[in-house]
Symmetry: C2
């Protein structure tokens, strides 16, 4: 009897996590000789524990699956549920009973670091109880911080959105070019600066905005920052500075914490503010020029307007490759990308031991950041540029993007 | 001897203010029997007073003019310069001597309210001194707050960006749909709520997000807001609320002022915060659910990713129509749109007396807002939907949009 398939999504949304879902589902449905029913778990492992799941096949018949491919966010819903470290915990037999009841032979989990931890634990538990369920992780995270892979699906589209938007913000900042101004753009990335680094791709020529880029990989010094801004304003009167939300001083104190240490909100609570807002106030106080800060916020991960064709293609292919690997007997693996050395840009799809991947974090190499920690070098550009190539045309309805959505009520 | 043309841009950027520039320049260059040189003033009237201007013809030859059409922001640079009320002021003869020195016969000024004030004053001064210089205003503002016109170029693209982005934010907000959450989206608009109202176009069906929309046209009551949010969370666990930045209580106090009355930033200064941030803290304090606020910020006016084809077409046509009207002898006029009654959507290009337009403000009609001031009715949707129709494909280079730019240094 053919075994069934189940796929889930976990962690924060990206623009292509649904493209990976499409890849898994499409591939599994089209290998009907090998697989039985293809299920989707609603709200990841957490929802599955409460018996929320759905049959994915009708979505292909109705055409909804094609829409899912271009829809940002997690179609199946997500969760932030960490399985217990102790494999003796009661949740494991509970989960595997549910798998057995549905005759599941293959479980695909699309997610980032924490989701790979889930893949690791479930595959180890399967081994422990001699279950033949194969568990495969499909990577996704805009943060690009997974090890054992050249990059992660989701990063390319977020990078393309950031580069394009920073280029537009630089135009917006320069319309009154006879007056000095500073625009600070705060970009996601608590511990790794990949996304803020991608803002360098907005630059059209040397000296073009964003002139200054600060990542959490270098320690941030407020005095050096102010001096650098003052100096740069001499040649670039409308300066755009890009920062990671996670920039911190040499003691590890986040810049955003400096604000909440002192500020109080209207309700008398500690003010929770961003690093950008803090630096805006700092520039106002210390330099006195016109200054504003912009938080790119969730649009970085959920905008469909700047989907990278390369990213989407790789996201779909990693889902499909996961299905192929599971069928060939692999388990406890994460699908990974290996870049083929030399131009033009090509990647091979490979598998990585998920136990090595989970709970690790890949940061931007120090040699890709210029010496004083205020800019990004050519090596990063060569690495990131291929990942933002190509555009995706989103279907529109009545002037706005048409997305798939799962009726939840 | 043929008279020369000069065109300038003023006020805040929009996604199509350059499309209007394209319209003026292309039309004037292609009526070479009627016009001499076509100049652009750099940084509006203010830059022109310092003799900053350029010849626009080489841009057509180099192909740059085609790029300008799709480039957000003000290609020629902008200013916020208000001419003195007193037409006896020395600046007027100074300006007109400069016009005369360049043999200018036609002046086109692309801008919003304040720019129409400039058009009004210059046309009145021209009349006063019996100058035959014709002065025409080409409207632009994302705020859509100019009177005497059905709508303004710039609004359609901003509305399309807002509707699309709010739809994406609603997806992002719903991935953990098993937990209650509130997402507050702050949209531009200090006195008029047109842009926040456009968020209603994100809605796919009745009851879909954004469920609550608040405009400055209705007085905002914090207690009623909290009650409404609590009530709405019962059926919509992942609630998206859209607000204009300019919402205020019945005494006219802006919600964002409530924060700065009490809050203090890290430097001991009054905290300048947005209305969205204030309401985020209010919901946290009074309801205690997960809540976040997102400020759409300058991307509303400078993003090229959601250009409305209708808006761009009308922006170009209003520039070209301005040239035609000036040639026919009109002056002291603003180009305006008159909607032809009945479907399908059609507009006529007309002229409005600029003296009536300037320093007036058009707000969203009260009857287009639902009675309790928490939603937008069908009349607005019927009005706004045609303005966001059609997409524009932006040329790309190396994965990011290719824009025109004027070398300033």
């Amino acid at each position: 009897m053919k075994k069934n398939v189940i796929v889930g999504q976990s962690g924060g949304p990206t623009a292509v996590i649904n493209a990976s879902l499409y890849g898994v589902v499409y591939e599994a449905l089209n290998r009907e000789d090998s697989f039985g029913t293809v299920y989707g778990m609603i709200n990841g492992i957490e929802g599955f524990l409460a018996d929320y799941y759905m049959d994915m096949e009708p979505l292909e018949r109705s055409g909804e699956l094609e829409l899912i491919k271009n829809t940002p966010g997690s179609y199946l819903g997500s969760c932030r549920y960490k399985l217990p470290e102790d494999l003796e915990d009661a949740v494991y037999p509970q989960l595997f009973e549910k798998f057995q009841a549905l005759n599941i032979g293959y479980f695909f989990y699309i997610g980032g670091n924490d989701s790979m931890d889930t893949v690791s634990k479930l595959s180890r538990y399967a081994q422990k109880i001699s279950s033949d369920i194969r568990v495969i992780g499909i990577p996704k995270t805009i943060d690009n911080d997974l090890i054992e892979t050249d990059h992660t699906p989701g990063f390319g589209s977020a990078a393309k959105y950031i580069a394009s938007t920073v280029r537009e913000i630089a135009i917006d900042a320069s319309v009154y070019d006879n007056k000095k101004s500073v625009t600070i753009v705060e970009i996601m990335g608590r511990h790794a600066g990949w996304l803020a680094a991608a803002s360098v791709l907005a630059r059209k020529f040397e000296g073009d905005n964003p002139v200054l880029i600060y990542l959490p990989e270098s320690n941030f010094d407020q005095d050096a920052f102010i001096d650098k801004v003052k100096e740069t304003l001499e040649c670039t009167p409308n300066l755009v500075v890009c920062i990671s939300e996670g920039i911190h001083d040499k003691n590890g104190t986040f810049v955003c914490e400096l604000a909440s240490d002192v500020g109080v909100d209207a309700f008398g609570h500690k003010m929770l503010t961003g690093s950008g807002k803090y630096l805006e106030n700092l520039v106002k106080e210390r330099i006195g020029v016109k200054v504003r800060s912009i938080e790119l916020n969730v649009c970085q991960r959920c905008s469909s307007s700047m989907l990278s064709k390369t990213d989407q293609k790789e996201a779909i292919a990693s889902g499909a490759y996961g299905v192929k690997c599971a069928l060939e007997g692999e388990t406890g693996k994460m699908i990974a990308f290996k870049r083929v050395k030399g131009a033009p840009y090509t990647i091979d799809y490979v598998t990585a031991d998920v136990n090595k991947v989970c709970n690790q974090e890949k940061t931007v190499p120090a040699q890709w950041i210029t010496k004083d920690g205020t800019d990004i070098g050519e090596d990063f550009i060569a690495y990131a540029r291929p990942l933002i190539q190509g555009e995706v045309t989103i279907p529109m309805e009545d002037g706005v993007p048409k997305f798939a959505y799962r009726k939840t009520h």
